[in-house]
């Protein structure tokens, strides 16, 4: 067999197939990738440096911008880390609200994923549907928090505004709608023979290496390992709610898609339960004047399950009114670099974008 010539292909930073703004440098032989290298930094905004310049509360406006498609887990994780340092109790009602916000955030992120996963395979109709429908969730967010994308809603001590009963009704209505719509999506995506052909056996994460490589979230559950921060280390009121953590075997795009499909259902169910069980009471344990709020010295690590996997915040305080160091580690940090570089060789170049969407690579989260 004649060895085909190796060519170099740059996927990105300006490329419709790339998720966000990053670059994958590929060595290809024909249509097959031989070597892949990720280049990031196109979105480096120096968050961690900037947070050190802000005070404890101001920092949270920056944080949600870590990862655009799913800003809320960032807020929550930071809030939880700071609460741990400050020994601050969160009212139970606030915890329920947080759970609802988190799950709504997951839902809207799943819908973006539907669009991305289908769109990267050329099925644009699904993207038009799900991203269009995603606006209904954003409308809910807008009504609750005042912002569509960046909510800046969860902060240390609780949440910023209370929920109203009309909002709860709207949420339930939207959930019913989405449940119906998800059937439409699934009909177009999971029932589709071509999608199955594309997704099965592609982008396999090996089961024995998954945890070592730092795979988390749906990709890890896609190899059959039941791992979810919500059950491993329950936070807020997740231990009081009844939900399944779906897994699938195979570790390919198909398995990850199945996991997400089921998680979509679970999120809807969690939201319904949380709305039902939400107690009355305070929604916010007021922090002192933010300009003068001093968090006791110490270090804290908090992690949260986002749609792409666990997000961890390492927060260090030196006893002043500003964080001394905040380090965030999102799922994409490993997915977008190590894992991607490891599973891309041997794949067809047609599948790169497909795999990236399936892993949930989110460049702003990698370089921050």
């Amino acid at each position: 067999m004649i060895r085909e010539k190796e060519t170099t292909l740059y996927l990105g930073p300006q490329h419709p197939g790339i998720t966000g703004n990053m670059m994958v440098k590929l060595k290809v032989q024909g249509d097959t990738v031989v070597k892949a290298t990720t280049h990031v930094g196109y979105l480096h905004r120096a968050f961690e440096k900037l947070i050190e310049q802000r005070n404890w509360l101001n920092a949270f406006t920056l944080l949600c911008r870590f990862c655009v498609p799913e800003p809320d887990p960032m807020e929550l994780t930071y809030a939880r880390a700071v609460e741990e340092l400050d020994n601050r109790e969160v009212p139970e009602r606030a915890q329920y609200i947080r759970v609802i916000v988190m799950e709504l955030a997951r839902l809207q992120s799943f819908m973006l994923w539907y669009a991305g996963q289908a769109g990267s395979a050329g099925l644009y109709t699904l993207g038009q549907w799900s991203v269009g429908d995603r606006n209904y969730i954003l409308d809910l967010f807008e009504e609750l928090t005042g912002g569509r994308i960046y909510h800046m809603y969860i902060w240390p001590g609780g949440v910023r505004r209370d929920v109203t009963d009309t909002w709860k009704d709207k949420v339930l209505k939207t959930m019913d709608y989405l449940e119906k719509r998800q059937d439409d999506y699934n009909q177009l995506m999971f029932d589709n023979t071509i999608f199955q052909k594309r997704a099965k056996g592609v982008g396999i994460v090996p089961k024995d290496k998954a945890i070592e490589w730092g795979v988390v979230g749906p990709p890890l559950r896609g190899v059959g390992i039941k791992s979810d921060v919500r059950i491993d280390e329950p936070y807020e009121v997740y231990d009081k709610l009844d939900f399944e953590v779906p897994t699938a075997e195979g570790g390919d795009i198909w398995a990850r898609a199945l996991v997400r499909k089921e998680e979509f259902r679970q999120s809807i169910s969690i939201i319904r339960q949380a709305i039902e069980k939400m107690p009355k009471g305070d929604y916010y344990n007021k922090v002192p004047n933010p300009m003068k709020w001093v968090v006791p010295e110490g270090q804290a690590w908090a992690k949260t399950e986002s749609v792409r996997g666990e997000i961890g915040f390492y927060v260090v305080s030196n006893g002043t009114n500003k964080p001394y160091r905040v380090h965030a580690k999102g799922a994409a940090y490993t997915h977008g670099v190590t894992v991607l570089e490891k599973i891309l060789p041997g794949q067809n170049i047609a599948d790169i974008s497909f795999i990236m969407n399936s892993l949930g690579v989110c460049p702003p989260e990698i370089e921050r």
């Binding site: 930073p13 300006q14 490329h15 419709p16 966000g20 703004n21 930094g41 196109y42 979105l43 480096h44 905004r45 120096a46 440096k49 900037l50 310049q53 406006t61 920056l62 911008r65 655009v68 498609p69 973006l112 669009a115 993207g127 038009q128 549907w129 991203v131 269009g132 429908d133 995603r134 606006n135 954003l138 569509r148 994308i149 960046y150 702003p364």
Partner: protein, 181 residues
Amino acid sequence: MINDKDSQKIVDYIQNFARKQSLFVMAYGTGCGAIEIPATMTSRYDAERFGIRGAATPRQADVLLITGYLATKTLKRVIRVYEQMQEPKYVIGFGSCTINGGMYFDSYNTINALEQYIPVDVYINGCMPRPESVISGFVKLQELIQQGKADNGKKYRENLEWYRTNQKKIIKNWKMPDYNW
């Protein structure tokens, strides 16, 4: 040759009409504002009603959206993309970050004022601008095009020196082909 002013006007009108009604948007998500682009382009807001659609490569694009902050590393690519675009070309700056640095005003890695590096036709307010704002931005751009005011590429060509000086201030390792058209 058309010398008659009136007929020139008619030709201009038709040209501008076509230009404003068919805006191919460069698919380059330079910053976080890019998250509202899908929302704008998809069913709920449907920017295609205005003839706005994506273009995968700079050669085919008319409009470059700078969706928020620009890291210096991206700035270099944006300039490259911008220079590859064919005239007439337009630039829309999204949100606070392009106007005056936004929340990253003190970051060592993001630029503050976009029009220092490439000419900008329209700025949209917001962090990030929601789809309605984005569409308003496009509507404004259409107005400018119809009035013949949007002539971004010419401005860039004529002030290339000035732009280059500014660009080279930020981009330390300048290894790029010349802008020769």
